[in-house]
Amino acid sequence: MDATKSREGVQAGAMRSIWTEAILGGAAWRLVRANGIFLALLVLLAVGAVLSPHFLTAANFANVSRQASIVGILAIGMTFVILTAGIDLSVGSILGIVAIGFASMMSSGVPWPLAIAVSIAFGAGVGALNGLGITKGGLQPFIMTLAMLVIARGATLTFADGKPIRVGEAAADIAWIGNGSLAGIPVPVLMFAGLGGFAWFVLRHTTFGREVYAVGDNREAARLSGISTNRVVFGAYVISGVCAAVSALIVVSRLAASEPTQGQGFELDAIAIVVIGGTSLFGGSGGIGGTLVGAAIVAAVNNLLNLLGVPPFSQQIAKGLIILGAVLLERRTRGREEGR
């Protein structure tokens, strides 16, 4: 699985920092300091601009960012899960099953607001199943969500009998989600930035968000402090499921169709983004800021390599090396700080 399929975030990253600057003041700068990785992004953008005149154009910006929002939104949900020291391998399959469901609802004349509501509820439902298996069933997150990955994919293929489903005329009703833009900013990007900002706020400023950190950092301590750890963990997987559903909506409205293999392998992309963003797979440390930057880096790299006409096979090599470079740069800047 190429772990870096997603597009953009270049702008999402930028966007977000402006956005925070405006709404939260200073937060943006804290973000830069907090994530040495942000530096890596800036370097990458600079290099890109030099290498290709087509890189930092408004048009490229818009479409790259639109693309990135898809995996970027998955990564937002994944951040919650990973902060609780869990992992969600099923996001790609959830995206796939919701996408097929949404497409077929639209094609069979279900009014779009209802279709959207059902889709999101469904995503939440699958996430809830993950959450139950892990909390009540006591299954390791890796196992539970891996099983869900295969099960949901199998269900999708069965439901669609392996064939893509077209939205048909109804496509016009939902086109705005994938193709529309507001004040020049593509709707998917607004959703990505919006969700990102919201998630950031939840994690940073709400009791639930802090409990997510507490549970991931020291499960036992959280329990002994009267936090209902099951509730928190359960919540994280539901959020992840919802994010997957939202991505699905964007995909379907963008493509006016969905294939049953839609989203295959996205889980690794999403996890990679979160980890590149500096969130620890052992839980309790990291956050959304890094995830948004991570999404931006991954997206910028993919886009740049295509613009430069690097042949596909070599692209994979380049991607790997660039990601390594970015993370190493970050390590260097943070250097000792981590200490023991």
């Binding site: 009791t207 507490a214 301590a221 402090s225 009267g226 309790g284 440390s285 023991r340």
Partner: protein, 506 residues
């Protein structure tokens, strides 16, 4: 709500009644029908050997463990099978023996974990959080930086955070499981003052400690446990130390015997050891066969000295000579190669491998002792470890039992065994008897003396002055990363040590 609620007079209902509490673990019957009653406003001491069942009893009271049998009444209300959340709601707060904190979160968030002050929609009120934290730590006379990451704190300060966490809940019954294990006297007195203030308002305490002087100083009544049973309970006034020890250990203890050190050649010489912000030009030497004690308040840098010598932390300046040869020590591996061992103060964080067996934890310090050409001889390991288990009286279901399941004090003994097994020429020991019962403590002190007599050079950090005075041949006092005094055992007294540990001119 706190101030409003409690009535200065003692209410009728006892704060806590436990009847016939029993708890079995695979391989260990921890509790065999324990009865315990605590009146409001009472400070109830709970003592007993390592493994007697104190912490288990506490965890059952806290709702952390489920009980096999027995009833619990809190403030007259019977308690069914309740989890930690419910017990906290019922006003039972616990300071656990093993700090249960989230290292990546701030001091403030840890103190208020699970009850962060928030506006509607569950939005955290950070200003209030910081304020209330400062208030709490002020009220307890602890200087804690609310925003400091708990992971960056010394063990002592982590313990303080635990204390603040429990005392800041408006609890009616507060349990302290060996809060003093790493606290130096100053911090301890602060804690006692606060406890007394709270008892005025009818708050009850259960105070667990292996330091009997504390028990006599602070508790109204005391209960003695042994092998999961209560063997005695009554007013502290009617107790004497020897009797208490007798009840706990089942035998009288000889006082630590005087030893006349035969100082050999200089084993360790430290020159101008400096680590920015933590250590400032620390110099001293230890001879083979000598026990050097280091005293000081929490945060004074004692631990950092040991870690620096052991190569655990990088140093900014200074030289270290081992048996006359100046040798750069870049890592603990180097240190151990030179025969320098470090028994860390925080056994859970950087001592134990919790998931592994007792034997594993003992031999990991020097596997070559039980292996030939990389192959471990199970027989040799068994022999070696069982010897230590017997010698240190480590209470365990077997040397194959997971060390996680041992009582705190027994874990400490196991780690001690690790360094005995590594037979070092220089032994750095941070809080050697943390959480160890009186019997075992005497045993460990004897061991230290024995090691010294065998020519081992020992540097010992302890927050317990009596221990420092009892064991050391020479005593260094530290303050704010500097050595402020060197006292010979003959001239050293608690007062003089405290003077140098706290006074603020040179």
């Amino acid at each position: 709500m706190m101030a409003a609620e409690f009535e200065p007079a003692r209410p009728a209902a006892p704060a806590l009644v436990m009847r016939g509490i029993a708890k079995a673990f695979p391989g260990a019957q921890a509790l065999r029908g324990v009865d315990l009653a605590v009146a409001p406003g009472e400070i109830h001491g709970l003592v007993g050997e390592n493994g007697a069942g104190k912490s288990t009893l506490v965890k059952i009271l806290a709702g952390a463990y489920s009980r096999d049998a027995g009833d619990i009444e809190v403030a007259g209300q019977p308690v069914g099978s309740a989890g930690p959340a419910e017990m906290l709601a019922r006003g039972v707060a616990v300071i656990y023996q093993e700090p249960a904190l989230a290292p990546h979160l701030s001091v403030a968030e840890n103190i208020f974990m699970g009850r962060l002050p928030s506006r509607r929609l569950g939005i955290v009120d950070w200003r209030r959080l910081i304020e209330e934290t400062s208030v709490v730590s002020g009220r307890l006379g602890l200087d804690l930086r609310p925003r400091a990451r708990v992971g960056s704190l010394s063990v002592a300060r982590r313990q303080m955070v635990e204390i603040a966490k429990a005392l800041s809940r408006d609890a009616r019954l507060i349990v302290l499981d060996e809060p003093s294990a790493v606290l130096a006297d100053a911090e301890l007195q602060g804690l006692f003052t606060v406890m007394r203030r709270l008892t005025e308002r009818g708050v009850a305490f259960i105070y667990i400690s292996h330091r009997l002087n504390e028990v006599f100083q602070i508790t109204d009544r005391v209960t003695v446990m042994k092998d999961g049973r209560v063997v005695a309970t009554g007013p502290t006034a009617g107790m004497t130390a020897p009797r208490l020890v007798g009840l706990m250990v089942g035998r009288e203890l000889g006082a630590d015997r005087e030893r006349t050190p035969n100082r050999g050649r200089i084993a360790l010489r430290v020159e101008g050891l400096t680590r920015r912000g933590v250590l400032d030009d620390v110099s001293f030497e230890v001879a083979a066969g000598e026990i050097l004690g280091i005293a000081g308040l929490a945060g004074s840098g004692r631990t950092e000295v040991l870690r620096a010598i052991h190569g655990a932390d990088p140093i900014d300046a200074g030289t270290i000579e081992v048996f006359g040869r100046a040798t750069p020590i870049r890592s603990p591996r180097d240190a151990i190669g030179l025969g320098i061992g470090l028994l860390t103060e925080d056994r859970k964080a950087d001592g134990l491998m919790l998931g592994q067996a007792v034997a594993f934890n003992v031999t990991i310090g020097k596997l070559s002792e039980v292996a030939t050409r990389g192959l471990i001889s199970q027989r040799r390991e068994r022999r070696v470890v069982e010897e230590y288990v017997a010698r240190l009286d480590i209470r365990t279901a077997g040397i194959g039992a997971r060390i996680r399941n041992l009582s705190g004090g027994n874990q400490q003994k196991a780690i001690f065994a690790r360094w005995l097994n590594a037979d070092c020429r220089i032994l750095l020991i941070d809080e050697p008897t943390r959480g160890v019962d009186v019997g075992a403590k005497a045993e460990i002190h004897r061991l230290l003396a024995e090691l010294a007599d065998r020519g081992v050079a020992i540097v010992m950090v302890s927050s317990e002055l009596p221990e420092v005075l009892a064991v050391s041949d020479r005593i260094l006092v530290m303050r704010e990363g500097r050595i402020t005094a060197e006292l010979d055992r003959s001239e050293a007294t608690e007062e003089r040590i405290m003077l140098h540990a706290t006074r603020h001119d040179g």
